[in-house]
């Protein structure tokens, strides 16, 4: 300690004139309000901003200058022996000198600020930093701003010390420095890119923070080793510094790579929050997403075969996310993956997977889309894909990418482009209109339209329905179920013409309607208690279920013929309590009800039939997906936490 203090004090005393110069420099900002154009109100702000700018510039500049010279120059001029020929430890030499450089650089900044802060008690360091000098990020407090300042000065001192030693030694180890810089930079950025590409921004931030800490430690260890081990031998010191610095950083970069690999290797079992995104209408495949445990909120996406447990990881970042589409025959899944990473929406590429081949891997089709956030639909056999994006609807062949049809979409109707379906492999329908607007303030809703694009043809508007709400299209695409706004009555329309096929004896402004997988229709009505009415495909009322305590009803799929999953929620203090939902299996033929459990929700809508595994899945809390047997009611966890 005696040696450290002696060295530290000596360096400070030798450069004591810097303090006086800083104080003088601190008087300069006081003259800025006198400058023309600053105005009476802007004067203090200009003064404070000038003071801060000067303080930062000189502080950082001095950190670089002193860091680069305080040891390296002594070494190059063979004056470090002055310390090493005396009873001063190498640690004291290194730390005393660099601590002095750090304190000097920092105190010069503080001294420059001193006059401005002395005459303005409202001097807002954080505000000035975020508002005036550093356009990105926010600095909510003086303490945080000061901490950032201190950390930057420390980093600059250490960095310039390492660079100063490396450059002054002029040894061949400089080549290692450049090689190490390149390799570590490549490894670190590759690790960050891998995480960012799939939207694991939290994990990327953890990796980056780890690398920064490792970088700081490497600079400290490298600099210390250079002085402790190299002593007055500049070349040996440089060699030790390089080995320590790049050894540490290389290790850290490899660890970052390992961390990235570990994060990205998350499996469905690692999800501590799990949600189903989509289910194939036929077969055991579903797509799930959720937050992976201990992975900084990374949300991987999977295709999961519920029967076999096989899963395929999708490279789809959150910012890009759209659920995969399944072909109606259950053989193909297709989705979009970004071509340039996840930080900004950009071009995407269609990727598909053959679900029937147990060894298949995701296959990039080469079909790309330049517009962000396209809406996707897959034909029944998976051989064609329709995409609505950027005001254009296209029909293409997979995987050849041959364009079969393309048409511009009327912007006034298809602003949201969120309902796209194949009628057959040659025809694709898009459904749209102001009804899709979530804007409840629209008093005069626009029409609901169905347009169709045929292979080799143009867009044809085939149906137009006026003054309806909550339109739903049947599974075969031939009918539309919607609520007439004037009397809230539910109507069935012909999707091909827009003609009314039937008026159902069900109404209510809060009522909901849906087609079931088997073509029947379900209408939920009632305010204080809910009533579920089932209509046959011929519009005949078949059965009514009453839920006396329910304030909301959610319809699930049809896990077996004549069965329907339903969840009801009691009213909570402010809204329906879905966390206390009662889930039950209705027998549409007999009217019997079997309770499946509390706090579970069906993961799919009533369009999902017995052929889809999704109709037999329930979301239990946020952390589990369970599959139930529609005959026995037995439940099995298929994703998420297995215990508890």
């Amino acid at each position: 300690m005696r040696g450290f203090l002696a060295v530290f004090e000596r360096e400070l005393v030798e450069r004591r004139l810097l303090a006086a110069a800083a104080l003088l420099l601190g008087l300069v900002p006081l003259t800025t309000p006198l400058l023309p154009g600053t105005g009476q109100r802007g004067g203090p702000e200009v003064r404070n901003a000038t003071a801060l700018a000067l303080a930062l510039c000189f502080s950082f500049g001095l950190a670089l200058l002193l860091g680069a010279s305080i040891i390296a120059r002594d070494l190059a001029e063979r004056r470090l022996g002055f310390y090493f020929s005396r009873p001063i430890g190498g640690w004291a030499v290194w730390s005393g000198k660099l601590a002095a450089a750090f304190v000097l650089a920092l105190s010069v900044g503080v001294l420059i600020l001193l006059p401005a802060t002395a005459i303005d008690r409202r001097f807002d360091l954080g505000g000035l930093l975020s508002a005036r000098l550093i356009p990105f990020g926010t600095f909510p407090s003086v303490a945080l701003s000061a901490l950032l300042w201190v950390a930057t000065v420390l980093l600059l001192v250490l960095l310039s010390h390492a660079a100063g030693v490396a450059l002054r030694s002029r040894s061949p180890w400089l080549l290692l420095d450049f090689a190490g810089l390149g390799l570590v930079g490549w490894l670190a950025s590759a690790a960050a890119r891998r995480l960012i590409f799939v939207g694991a921004l939290g994990a990327a931030a953890v990796a980056t923070a780890g690398l920064l800490v490792a970088g700081l430690l490497a600079l400290i260890a490298g600099g210390a080793n250079q002085v402790l081990g190299g002593r007055t031998d500049l070349r040996r010191g440089h060699r030790l510094q390089s080995l320590t610095l790049w050894g540490t950083l290389l290790t850290a970069s490899l660890l970052a790579q390992g961390y990235a690999s570990w994060v990205l290797a998350a499996e469905p079992e690692d999800l501590d929050k799990v949600y189903i995104a989509a289910g194939a209408s036929r077969g055991p495949w579903i797509s799930i997403t959720g937050a992976a445990a201990h992975r900084a909120e990374y949300q991987p996406d999977f295709l999961l075969n519920v029967s076999s447990g096989r899963f395929v990881r999708l490279q789809t970042p959150r910012s890009f996310w759209a659920p995969p589409r399944f072909s109606a025959d259950g053989r193909w899944a297709a989705w979009l993956e970004p071509r340039e990473g996840a930080l900004r929406p950009g071009p995407s590429e269609l990727v598909r997977l053959d679900l029937r081949d147990p060894r298949s891997q995701p296959e990039r089709t080469g079909i790309t889309y330049s517009q962000p956030f396209p809406t996707l639909a897959l034909s029944a056999d998976g051989g064609r894909v329709a995409v609505a994006a950027g005001g254009r609807l296209t029909l293409e062949e997979v995987p050849s990418g041959r364009l079969l049809a393309s048409a511009e979409l009327p912007r006034e109707l298809f602003r949201y482009e969120d309902s796209l379906r194949f009628v057959d492999s040659n025809r694709v329908q898009i459904l749209g209109g102001d009804l899709f607007s979530k804007d409840a303030a629209i008093n005069e809703p626009g029409p609901f339209e169905v347009a169709e694009l045929k292979a080799g043809g143009g867009l044809v508007r085939i149906a137009r329905i006026e003054q309806v709400a909550d339109p739903r299209v049947s599974g075969d695409g031939t009918r539309i179920l919607a609520r007439r706004r004037s009397d809230q009555r539910w109507l069935v329309f012909d999707a091909g013409t827009g003609a009314v096929l039937a008026e159902l004896p069900a109404a209510g402004d809060r009522s909901k309607g849906a087609f079931l997988a088997d073509g029947r229709m379900a209408i939920v009505t009632g305010a204080r208690e809910k009533e579920l009415q089932i209509f046959s495909p011929a519009f005949v009322p078949e059965r009514t279920f009453r839920f006396k305590t329910a304030m909301a009803v959610r319809l699930g799929g049809q896990p077996a013929p004549d069965r329907l999953v339903v969840a009801t929620a009691p009213r909570g203090p402010e809204a329906s309590r879905w966390d206390l939902s009662r889930t039950m299996l209705l027998d549409l033929a007999t009217g019997s009800v079997r309770r499946l459990g509390i706090g579970m929700l069906p993961v799919t809508g009533p369009h999902c039939g017995p052929e889809s595994i999704a109709s037999r899945l329930l979301q239990r809390g946020e952390d589990r997906l369970v599959q139930f047997d529609p005959e026995t009611g037995k439940q099995t966890v298929i994703a998420g936490r297995r215990s508890g």
Partner: protein, 294 residues
Amino acid sequence: MNPIALEGLTVRYGRCLALDDVSLGVPEGAVYALLGRNGAGKSSLVRCLVGEQKPAAGRVSLLGRNVWQERASILAEVGVVPEEPDMPPAMTPRQVARFCSRLYPHWDAAGVEARLKRFAVPRDTPFGRLSKGQKGHVSLALALAFTPRVLVLDDPTLGLDAVARKAVFEELIGELADRGTTVFMTTHDLAGVERIADRVAVLRQGKLVLDEEMEALKRRFRRISFPRSQTAEASRLEALAPVAVASRGLAVEAVVSNYDEERFRAAGPEGREVSALTLEEIFIALTGEGEEQP
């Protein structure tokens, strides 16, 4: 136990071998002079000796301890005078003395003052503006200020004029007389060191070619000259280990390194002349051949 002991010291700079397996020991209280031409490896040896440089191989023991590992604590008892005075140029001798005084348990501030006064060194002039001689004097004054058990001097008179050299050696003699300090010195001032050294070593191209008591060294080295006509005499010199033989006009001069007076008188021819050698002449005879090292 020798206060200074080197075992198998080897120093490399890349492919260049600066010191090749050097071993030596300096007894307590001795004045040890290490001689060698420029580039022989003296300064490398001194840097290793004071723990500034790590040798490629070998062990350096100072005051019985490993100097690389315990440099800081050892140097509390070892005064060092570097070849190139390396004090911060902005510091005055007074400031340097104050700085150093904090590092040693015993510091003779008055002694430093007295020495600087004796050397006529201005105490408040920045070190960078002092003459080379004055810088050397400051270094010596500081090295002696804490009563070191060992004094290591790396060519302390390099570049000094005759007066300054004399002052340095007189100071050393005074110091030795007073305290009996062990001194390890490298120097090119052979005449100066001849007066005070007890033991002499010679480095040649990184190898220690001589390490001997001064008196013994001077006893066994002689210059023998004889007329060129008595060439048969030359073969008799073989037993005396000639290290240099040269023609000087009509005479031949030989420097022998194993001179034995009785043996030589009994066998010697007429007309021969035998004379003692100075340390400088011995050094030249030992190292004078070949090119100077870079």
